[in-house]
Assembly symmetry: C2
Homo-oligomer: 126 residues x 2
DNA sequence: CAGAATCCGTTAGGATACTG
DNA sequence: CAGTATCCTAACGGATTCTG
């Protein structure tokens, strides 16, 4: 890894791979929606209430994008009235756990670094 | 962690922490610039060549933002002519390693999942 | 409740040209 | 080489209204 060539290869690979990841997860909302969904919020209005500042329009389009990428499924329970729609995390969504954990850790450390004071930390359980 | 209250606390904490992280690292370019910088590309035009599609204007403003957040330092070697400017990763920048690694792994797996065919994988060395 | 439709403002960021 | 200065537009996303 000290060899400059393999380092260049790694740099190129990382640039491309991170670009791919951000194509799916980038933007202001997608990760936040996934956090809420994975943590048990499945209904549309519940998600909108839980995710601070998101509008119905944006939530709707983001959910469609996440569904296209296989991270959530839209489940309609037609046997109820009124009809209940649920956005459920797929198995694939579990692969986001590490990303969320790492980003979340970094974010709270960074905030502590900036503000001096820390928040209550929530331990990772994996 | 099965208790719904602590799960809610965790959800709130993650939402807020990820938001903090994305405030610093979000957008199309910041992480990509950091990848290039950490991998040994320190000069302005070198970075612009290395990072596909970035304009000088955007690179300039993004570097300033990263400098403000303590992730790079702008070092001017005045004893040379023409003057050499280098953007060097700070020690703090090392804390991004895990983020980049995790995102990069996910991105390349996801691409394999989508396209069916995989790229040459570059192993993580930490 | 679960959205779609419409309208509209902001802005990230692209293109190009120019400078010390 | 290392940027800055303009200009410009596509996309993001906020607000509001409407609907089955």
């Amino acid at each position: 890894m000290e060899n400059p060539d393999s380092r260049e290869v790694k740099c190129t690979a990382q640039l491309s791979a991170v670009e791919d990841a951000m194509y799916v997860l980038g933007g202001k909302w997608k990760l936040r929606i996934m956090i809420a969904v994975v943590n048990g919020h499945h209904r549309f209005n519940e998600l909108q209430r839980r995710i601070n500042g998101i509008s119905a329009r944006v939530l709707s389009t983001e959910l469609k994008s996440l569904e296209l990428n296989g991270l959530v499924t839209r489940a309609v329970k037609a046997d109820q009235t009124p009809v209940v729609v649920e956005y459920l995390p797929t198995e694939y969504a579990a692969t986001l756990k590490e990303i969320v954990a790492v980003l979340s850790d970094w974010g709270s450390s960074h905030k502590r670094r900036i503000t001096g004071k820390g928040e209550a930390l929530v331990a990772r359980e994996d």
